[in-house]
Symmetry: C2
DNA sequence: GATTGAATAGTCAGAACTGAATAGTCAGGA
DNA sequence: TCCTGACTATTCAGTTCTGACTATTCAATC
């Protein structure tokens, strides 16, 4: 239901069409959810069917018509419920990158180190990118701060792992 | 491909049947991936079709026969490749719990605080649970350390958010 | 004023995933 | 010895998701 919460929350602030929603989410909320274009339309259709949102075809100039969505009162009620649920729960994170780590000892330490250094480079780049994000309004800023917080924590941790690995090599 | 890597890695260490794999993953690797039972079988079938693993029906006593899987040489090659890929890349994390945070300002601060305190309780319980995990052999311990590292970081961060929220309320 | 590349907007066939059910075993109690 | 609940093991029908595609507009370049 996280994506539904997100879509409702965005539509609540401003009516939008599917493409716009997808764009916004992938630009600004990539750290929270992944949402492919067809999935966005799929969810919007389902939400429309459930009566949470309504569609309006809008013809602008001689562009092809676009479907713009608005939140209904039922949708608003669902949003309020989902928001409280999301805030009150701690959703466990998944560290897919840990799967490789679990099998780290099947590689010679020197080689393992090489790959992890490559990972470190990718991570450092992400940290930089996160630092460069301009300030956002309201609580959206929280999301950015959270991302930065965890990315730097991750970098520190990876350096610890690399340090241990180097010790081991001696 | 993370789940394939995990399944191959486990099967490499010991031949197992689907149920066993699912059990092990959900007990020990829940912090890395979610893997439902039918999905495990689905992936195993696909991997068997690709020739990465082979199945052997084993009849034990008068139990229903079980299919035990073994990694083939091709499977081993895939494992080696996937392992290196996984180690070298930084897989971005998703913080589904941030979606609620992004809309925190649509709630009165006092109410928001109540829900986040509930979240804090759930999180604190997870931290405790993670501290209680017994030590594991080899690099599996890395996975546990990583989990602890991030859970405690998350707790610190949540406390910061709560602190700001309380300030705001004054 | 034609051509091209990028951005906008959406669709669909098929792949991936899972809730719920099925079916057998085993240990222990009535 | 029969029943029950917990465990082992798998399957299937249906839902959910996405890679790849279509199609239009716009702006820039030739």
């Amino acid at each position: 239901m996280e994506r539904e919460l997100l879509l409702l929350g965005l539509l609540r602030q401003a009516d939008m069409h599917g493409y716009q929603l997808h764009e916004f989410i992938n630009q600004n909320m990539a750290s929270c959810v992944e949402l492919k274009k067809p999935t966005a339309y799929y969810l919007l259709d389902k939400m429309a069917e459930s009566g949470w949102i309504t569609q309006t075809e809008i013809q602008e100039g001689n562009r092809p018509p676009r479907r713009v969505y608005q939140v209904t009162p039922e949708g608003e009620a669902v949003f309020q419920r989902l928001l409280r649920e999301n805030l009150a729960a701690h959703l466990p994170q998944r560290f897919a990158g840990d799967i490789g780590l679990a099998f780290l000892d099947s590689l010679p330490p020197a080689e393992a180190r090489t790959y992890l250094l490559e990972r470190r480079k990718a991570l450092a780049a992400e940290v930089e990118a996160a630092q460069a994000i301009p300030a956002h309004a309201g609580s959206m800023q929280l999301v950015i701060d959270h991302l930065r917080y965890h990315l730097t924590a991750e970098l520190r941790w990876l350096d610890e792992v690399l340090h241990h690995l180097t010790e081991e090599e001696k």
